[in-house]
Subunit: 375 residues, 2 copies
């Protein structure tokens, strides 16, 4: 993807700037770690044995060392080959080091120009759902174990209540109780029927938790059956597989990313990648229109501050790449909505699942729809 002419100067091309915070407890000086990282993520070869032009034009450059924070600039040519190789430069082998965490990432325009990013983003989704300012509403079909018809009946109730998006629980794959094709076809038909009779637009979003060689076909098949958006698990399918779905002009459906399997990359404060970079910047590069992450105070361990960095990264300037909706979920309840609007603002997709089922599903759902309608 990235193209760049071979050059013998070290200053005339754009660089990807990555800042790593080094945990002092590992007992190695930041200067030493910086030298290790800049070669590890590029040539994986003794620096002194590399030809001079490779030392200058391929190996990462130490841009700055400030206390425990080291900043490396990688020539964008190193990331040639697409999103996978970019992620490999960012975090491939360094992921195997303890005590190193990426806390900042700056991507030059020349690099970003190779990425379409989300096809819809905030503006596109607001247009689809005729919702110029309010939060969008999404819920998940559950519990696993129900038949396609039972899940479909739940979807119909939620569609009638006025939800924008009704997604499969991300664990719905192709279990014996609701095989993939049967489930997606049934629910898509049922939601499409409600949608045709309703003033409010609602879409069914099947989970593309399917074998890798079936991913693209499953997405197209789901669209043909009436699905209006797609739920993707990039931590399992691969970030670049999500990018392929977003880039597909024939598919042309909004994509919601689920954080399954990605947790270890963010939850250790001394290692990994900052929450905002993973669930904001990287998800945008990989084409998600909505990025799910676990809300603070729910079933998981993210702090309010960490969640806010995700929302900030979803909305930050990133070349021509559209802004996207953060979607804090995981144990959300109706009574937390005002607080969440206060924290996230209205450019948010509220994701509420199990809690809607305690009491009457329709009236709980309706209450939420009415709460966000005036926003």
């Amino acid at each position: 993807m990235t193209q760049q002419t071979n050059s013998s100067s070290d200053s005339d091309f754009a660089r990807i700037i990555v800042s790593y915070r080094i945990d002092p407890s590992i007992g190695v000086k930041p200067e030493i770690i910086a030298e290790a990282i800049r070669t590890e993520q590029t040539i994986e070869f003794p620096f002194d044995l590399a030809p001079t032009w490779i030392q200058n034009n391929v190996v990462g450059r130490i841009e700055n060392i400030d206390g425990q924070v080291v900043t490396i600039g990688y020539p964008i040519g190193v990331t040639g080959g697409g999103l996978g190789q970019f992620l490999n430069v960012l975090w491939g082998n360094v992921s195997l080091l303890n005590g190193v965490r990426i806390i900042d990432l700056q991507l030059p325009a020349e690099f970003l120009a190779d990425f379409r990013g989300p096809r819809f983003g905030v503006a596109g989704l607001r247009s689809i759902f005729n919702a110029p300012t309010r939060p969008l509403l999404c819920t998940a079909l559950k519990p696993m174990g129900l038949s396609p018809e039972e899940l479909g009946a739940t979807a119909v109730t939620l569609a009638r209540a006025g939800f924008d998006m009704i997604k499969d629980d991300h664990g719905l794959s192709s279990q014996p109780w609701a095989p993939w094709a049967q489930r997606v076809k049934t629910i898509a038909r049922m939601v499409t029927e409600v949608d045709a009779d309703s003033p409010h637009h609602c879409v069914y979003m099947p989970a593309l938790n399917v074998p890798a060689d079936q991913l693209l076909d499953a997405a197209h098949q789901a669209k043909e059956w009436g699905a209006g958006a797609l739920l993707v698990l990039p931590g399992l399918a691969g970030m670049d597989s999500m990018r392929v779905l977003a880039d597909d002009p024939e598919l042309n459906l909004p994509i919601m990313s689920h954080p399954s399997f990605l947790g270890s990359t963010v939850v250790n404060p001394q290692q990994g990648i900052d929450h905002g970079i993973v669930f904001g910047t990287l998800m945008r590069l990989a084409g998600a229109d909505i990025s799910i992450f676990p809300n603070y105070g729910g079933r998981f361990s993210f702090s309010q501050e960490e969640c806010e960095t995700v929302a900030q990264a979803c909305a930050a300037s990133l070349g021509e790449i559209a802004t996207i909706f953060p979607s804090p979920g995981g144990g959300m309840t109706l009574d937390r909505v005002p607080e969440m609007i206060k924290v996230y603002g209205t450019d948010v997709t509220l994701l509420i699942g199990g809690a809607l089922h305690r009491g009457d599903l329709f009236s709980n759902a309706r209450q939420l729809v009415e709460a966000v309608a005036p926003l």
Copy 2:
């Protein structure tokens, strides 16, 4: 993939048994965490609201709580849909919790029967390289920045010296200095020519660090050009994408897995998944014939004990799934070979890269070949 009849009894089907160690410092009782995990990884729904048959047949069952270790048994039907959903049950949402680490995994025969695993494994590779007992030898083409012809010339030297496998450095994708097709075609041709004139069989193993929608075609194209094995990055491409390559009967090439981007899942002692499960068990399920991981005492942070658990998991009984070669790499040097054989035994693929280039490449390589030949 997994099929199972719906049943109202909770004891007549096989279960996947996962043991999680809970970090006491998170301050939540193991009993509470066990209850959370068994629903989180299955129905993601309030347990008391689920129908009784789902409580009994879909939700994970607490098999045991022993101090800080909780063991959950998941009905195999829950993993229906393939490797991705299995990984999602194992570690999907739990990955977002701090202080939880998978330390043991038991897979029943009924589950394993759905996986082919590695196509070659230890026995298959020993046959290919006519190496009944000795360690196999692999090296990486580097540094990034060289042209296809320069990389090819290095490959020729290593092939003549008697290496079994010559792989691309995993960061070689499609950089401007050596675009993917040009590089793979050139090196494959050069190695094939040496191989034709040599009594010792040597294969070129290109890195499939390519866009997701080009992965399968790239593998077939590489084979057509003469590649004899494939390097896959499952942490970026997705574990199930590697499984697709391994399962492809037309492709029929050995696969080596690279740990890029997977580090955070193992390096934090209080969170993640044990080294042996990730780089042994999961890589075998996903079809790798050789699993690379960072050797102790090299550039990374794995302990000797952690490395030994990887080797043990590569060799352990796993239904009908073949045993595979562990491949400790990352900063290996010639003088460590005797020690490594002592630790890993001879069912190992020694991976040595940059160190061969200090001094004369051919004689360094030859020295290694001669050191392992009598083993």
